[in-house]
């Protein structure tokens, strides 16, 4: 059975910046798996920024690449940003 996620994009990739979408993924999907799936779905996504430098929030909390996602999670995908 699949999981439905809400994805919010704040990445330097014109096609996605500021956009929101729902995505179905398989049970057991990790953050790393999710990013791989997005790279397959969107041509150029993985070229816009190295995957390991993206900042991924799961329901507002910083996550690691091997963290698993759950049904209904809100995933925010951001690029790092210096400054303050």
């Amino acid at each position: 059975m699949g999981l439905t996620l809400k994805l919010k994009y704040f990445v330097r990739f014109d096609q996605l910046m500021g956009k929101t979408e729902s995505l179905e993924v398989a049970e057991g999907t990790s953050v790393k798996d999710l990013l791989t799936a997005l790279a397959e779905k969107y041509d150029g996504f993985s070229k816009s920024i190295p995957q390991q430098q993206l900042i991924i929030l799961i329901n507002g909390v910083f996550s690691a690449q091997d963290d698993k996602v759950s049904e209904g999670d809100e995933i925010s995908i951001l690029t790092p940003q210096m400054g303050g």
Binding site: G18, G60, S76, L78, T79, Q81, M82, G84
Partner: protein, 636 residues
């Protein structure tokens, strides 16, 4: 003397005298430059209890040791005085090109004392200094002042630091403006206004001599490459500091509605990303020797705020004037930002005091003629900025900052007067970021982000996690809701911030998330430029010495442990929603973190005062003697 100009310029406005002093090698050795030597001069030249807006306050412009070189992002300057908002130590770091220009004109420091009998401005050109009449400039805004001075001096390239009407009207959070840059926090503009000094104008042509120019050049290029390859720098360049809005909002730790909420639907509309995407962003520009160009120039081309144009907005500006007031009207925020810059106001405190007023209005304690003080009202923020700058009706109350305004309004309004030491905080949610909370509590100038911003505790980048491991021994401590080891994390950051400021580097390249120009590279850049070789440990000890000196100034002025605190709201009203729901930084947590922090500093736990042995170990024997004379050395 390599890297340094070697001279201090003194100006006494009361006596209408100027003179030069040779820069002390001993001070350079102990305090490096900029912020460090400024603090020593302030301590030396002011007496305890000096009135921040009186004739006897001293205001110091201090260039960084590397300012005027092409070390990446080395154009920073520190301006220091006793502060009107807090009645304590105040420093403000500012970018642009003023610091290199002052050094090119022959001076590392400009020390201003006294009070002019009539409005004046100071004109410094390659060692020639004159105090000129500014009666015709008094009352003009920042942009007009710059234009009139350019016309009068008939010079193409001038660096101008000036005040607008807010400084003249002694608004407690008036800024000193330098082009599109601002020495914003704490009311330095009011210090200039009280001295009747409208502007300082500088032009210089003398080169900065380098000790080992070839080695310096190679290392500066290496530093530039390190910066160029970091994704965070690209984001800062493209979107400016307001590019942080999505990150803060998505973590639901965004200061919305005067720190009552943590997420704002529609906040994207004032993000740096949106400003670029929708064409408000017209230009990006950088400070001296900086390739990042994080500064913005934005315009509004349509609608009722059409014609608005200004530098910025920065993250802190949109967070304070936008999120804090629940305003998502992009153009109203840009207009309010423009007016703050035009009138010379700190946008953080301006936004803070407006949101405090909105909360007072909601609780039926405050109203303003002709303005609806309701959350989300963009027109209200524009109108209130004007009234504050000119101290018109409610603006006269708000011009005092939230602490003093709450004392006048009474009732429970002090509970939502979000400040500590009298300064409104930078826009960070410190209930769920414990290191940040400690950093805000102990900051000598009040709760602010440019003395010890501890992003590393988030552990959001590999560089941040590596730094936490270096400081604490384990990456486990890269967790912003932990209280353990926060003293150590803050101590390391504040030492590094102080050293960064003393060298005139931008903290965005030494500390902010990437930690790219690390202390080792800082010492090497300094060594090749100044011919003074110091170790990483000596660099950070200089930072420690600077922080201790600033602390000692506050102790002299009456501060103690009770002043190292947070706004009441952060310690008593929990976060209402989101993943950190229910969190506060409690008094007990703060006390535990303070104990660790004081211990690491060698400061007395009960009073928060530096111990004699600590001061003497840092070579601050004269400071120890002065505090002893005042009965402010802890009893053993």
């Amino acid at each position: 003397m390599y890297a340094y100009a070697g001279k201090i310029l003194h100006v006494d406005l009361s006596a209408e005298k100027v003179w030069e002093e040779k820069l002390s090698q001993e001070r350079v050795k102990r305090l490096l430059g900029g912020r460090g030597i400024n603090a020593a001069i302030l301590f030396e030249l002011t007496k305890p209890g000096v009135d921040p807006l009186g004739e006897d306050n001293v205001l110091i412009f201090g260039t960084g040791a590397l300012s005027g070189t092409f070390a990446p992002s080395s154009g920073r300057m520190t301006i220091t005085a006793k502060g009107p908002a807090t009645n304590l130590y105040l420093k403000s770091s500012v970018g642009g090109h003023f610091a290199p220009e002052l050094k090119f004109a022959g001076y590392d420091y400009l020390v201003i004392r006294g009070k002019a009998r009539r409005p004046v401005y100071l004109w410094i050109q390659d060692g020639n200094v004159s105090i000129r009449d500014a009666s015709h400039l008094w009352g003009t805004d920042v942009q007009r002042t710059e234009e009139l001075i350019q016309e009068e001096l008939k010079e193409d390239r001038l660096e101008i630091a000036c005040i607008g009407p807010a400084g003249e009207n002694l608004v407690k959070f008036a800024a000193i403006m330098i082009g599109h840059n601002s020495a914003g926090r704490g009311g330095l503009g009011a210090v200039l206004g009280a001295k009747k000094l409208k502007a300082v104008v500088v032009q210089g042509h003398k080169p900065v001599e380098m000790a080992r120019p070839d080695l310096f050049k190679a290392l500066a290029l290496e530093a530039l490459n390190r910066l160029a390859n970091f994704e965070g720098r690209k984001g800062l360049s493209l979107y400016g500091t307001a590019g942080l809005v999505p990150m803060r909002n998505e973590t639901q730790l965004f200061p919305v509605k005067n720190f009552q909420e943590g997420y704002l639907e529609g906040a994207y509309q004032f993000s740096g990303q949106y400003l670029a995407e929708k064409g408000y962003l017209k230009n990006r520009f950088g400070c001296s020797a900086c390739g990042t160009s994080c500064h913005r120039f934005t315009t509004v081309d349509e609608g009722k705020y059409s014609g608005s144009k200004s530098g910025g907005p920065e993250y802190e500006t949109v967070a304070a004037l936008g999120a804090g007031c629940k305003v998502i009207d992009t153009e109203a925020i840009l207009k309010a930002n423009e007016l703050c810059n035009r009138y010379g106001l700190d946008t953080i405190s301006a936004g803070s005091v407006i949101q405090w007023a909105m909360e007072c209005h909601e609780k039926e304690l405050l109203s303003a003629e002709g303005v609806k003080l309701t959350w989300g009202n963009g027109d209200a923020i524009v109108e209130l900025v004007k009234r504050i700058a000119f101290r018109q009706d409610i603006g006269d109350l708000l011009a005092e900052g939230v602490k003093r305004a709450a004392e006048k309004v009474g009732h429970d309004s002090w509970k939502w007067a979000v400040h500590a030491k009298g300064l409104e905080p930078a826009r960070a949610e410190v209930r769920a970021r414990k290191g940040y909370a400690l950093a805000h509590a102990v900051n000598p100038r009040g709760p602010d982000h440019l003395c010890s911003q501890v992003y590393a505790e988030d552990g959001a980048t590999p560089e941040a996690r590596a730094l936490i491991k270096k400081i604490c021994g384990s990456e486990t401590y890269a967790n912003h809701i932990m209280t353990e080891k926060r003293g150590a994390i803050v101590r390391w950051h504040e030492d590094c911030y102080a050293a960064t400021d003393a060298l005139g580097l931008c903290t965005f390249v030494t500390l902010s998330r990437g930690y790219l120009i690390d202390p080792k590279m800082m010492t090497e850049l300094y060594g090749h430029a100044a011919g003074i070789d110091i170790s990483e440990e000596e660099l950070l000890t200089s930072g420690h010495r600077i922080v201790t000196l600033e602390k000692a100034f506050n102790v002299r002025e009456g501060a103690a442990r009770k002043d190292d605190t947070l706004a009441w709201r952060f310690m008593n009203e929990p976060i209402k929603a989101g993943p950190r729901r229910g969190m506060t930084t409690t008094q007990k947590e703060l006390e535990l973190m303070l104990d660790e922090y004081y211990e690491l500093h060698g400061w007395d736990h009960a009073t928060g005062w530096p111990k004699r042995e600590t001061l003497e170990s840092l070579g601050l024997n004269d400071i120890a003697e002065e505090l002893s004379r005042l009965g402010k050395i802890p009893q053993e």
